[in-house]
Amino acid sequence: MKFIPPFMHFMFAVLTTYLLASMVGTQLVLADILSFGLRVSLRDRLLATVHDLVGLMPALFLLITGAFLVAFVVAALCRRFLGGKQDWWYLAAGFTSLPAALMLIKYFMGATLFAAARTSFGMLLIALCGLAGGWVYTRLSQNRGV
């Protein structure tokens, strides 16, 4: 992947997390709908997933971009000053960045704006989506030899 500039590594990581987090968010919301006794058809599930992929784009994509930007800079600094394997720092940054950003938003605004993150289970899944983004970033960066 030497032909991909570093900025694109970052954007691929954001995109990966965005796609996963959006899809996870929709499935969690639909699970709640099922718990109310409503039937959710496969067609409705697919349409809702696509709807949310489009609808969440401005807010969630920006949130992930901001969270990753801060987290990856911190990861780079940690690696530089504390040492250790680059992969682990970026995986940790990916895993923690979204929960940290969402908790900060809740602290200042008093509410969780991304519904999937309102429960501990949902927050864990969102963190794992961030971990996937961190993993994509390390893979692409390693292949380039950074």
Partner: protein, 363 residues
């Protein structure tokens, strides 16, 4: 000087407002996020301020000293001192009912107290309702109060924003309309009495953040509630009904995602109307006075986001038409109430909130 300038600007505004069938006069300003008005039999008015003060307006003047002896409350976000209504027998017992938020930032809930107003102080204070589960969000308290003709008290409780799914379960107070007796006991004919796992004070459920509650002259219970992004609703409440939130909604989540892909479902009530995009409805009243003949029998909905009051012309339980009023004020309007002498009163929602009186432009 600042006060004079405000009065001058308002007078300029009145020129525009008076061009129609009404004029708007400033009664009081300097109110800190005023929330609700109660009209006392002697002509005075009580105004709650969300920041935690209860103020009296006497002979058209805001009294500098606030009503004393209010209980401790949680003031933050959308929480604080909220609604106030008089006991139907106020002239005999001087008792009033006040909703407020209690607790802390990390554990708060909606509470209703009753107290006697003796001169300028609350006395004989009783806590008659506290929402059962506390929450860690300072949003969606509901907090509107109304008496049914049988003198039982209705209380709206919001779903706390982060707790929306709980509006569909009957084991908590989130997103519910509550009905209790004046002393806090539970009426024996509430709809969920005897149902296992259900709280007996619940009267209806599936609400989001109801901030408008009205028992109209014909006994109909009207409730309006904030939707998220779109889907503000006006509902007619029947005991035991499920109003759908968050299983069905005409609104979207603020994030841009679905709250639900469904707008209807079996066993869940449809609104009389929904407002999409949101107008953010707050106060609510029915006009039964004689001053505005054309408005008789109409419902009035104050709005925060639209900065207006919606006049709803009703026909057979449906909204026949709507008129958007008072946009010339360019103010978020928290409350609209009709006084016994037929005037309409508005509260604007700001740190320097105003009490305004709407009267005919020509006598």
């Amino acid at each position: 000087m600042k006060h004079l300038l405000k009065v001058f600007l308002l007078c300029l505004l009145l020129g525009t407002a008076s061009a129609g069938e009404y004029k708007i006069e400033l009664v009081a300003d300097g109110l800190s996020y005023p929330w609700a008005i109660a009209f006392l039999p002697d002509g005075d008015m009580l105004v709650t301020e969300r920041s935690g003060q209860l103020r009296r307006i006497s002979n058209g003047k805001l009294q500098q000293q606030a009503i004393g002896n209010l209980p401790d409350m949680f003031v933050g976000g959308q929480g604080g001192l909220m609604d106030i209504i008089l006991d139907p027998d106020f002239a005999l017992n001087q008792r009033l009912y006040i909703s407020l938020s209690t607790g802390t930032k990390s554990a708060n809930s909606t509470r209703v107290i009753s107290a006697r107003l003796i001169e300028n102080t609350l006395k004989d204070i009783n806590i008659i309702f506290t929402a059962s589960t506390s929450k860690d969000t300072p949003h969606h308290f509901g907090g509107r109060l109304a008496f049914l003709p049988d003198q039982t008290l209705l209380i709206t409780v919001g779903e706390g924003f982060d707790y929306r799914e709980k509006a569909q379960s009957l084991d908590n107070h989130f997103g519910k309309l509550i009905r209790i007796n004046k002393d806090g006991t539970i009426p024996s004919d509430n709809p969920f009495i005897g149902r296992e796992g259900a709280l007996p004070e619940i009267w209806s459920y599936g609400h989001r953040n109801p901030q408008g509650l009205l028992v109209s002259a014909d006994g109909t219970v009207w409730l309006h509630e904030h939707g998220p992004r779109g889907g503000d609703e006006l509902n007619i409440i029947e005991p035991g009904n499920n109003y759908g939130w968050p299983a069905i909604s005409f609104g979207m989540d603020y994030s841009g995602a679905y709250v639900t892909p469904y707008t209807e479902a079996p066993g869940m009530q449809q609104p009389v109307i929904h407002w999409t995009p949101s107008i953010a409805p707050s106060g609510f009243c029915e006009y039964t006075g004689a001053v505005f003949e054309n408005w008789k029998g109409n419902l009035f909905v104050a709005t925060l986001a639209e900065k207006s009051v919606r006049r709803l012309v009703m026909q057979g339980g449906k909204v026949a038409s709507q008129e958007i009023l008072f946009t010339e004020l360019d103010q978020r309007i928290r409350e609209v109430r009709a006084s016994a002498d037929g005037y309409l009163y508005l509260l604007t929602d700001s740190e320097d909130g105003q009490l305004l009186r709407v009267s005919p432009s020509v006598n």
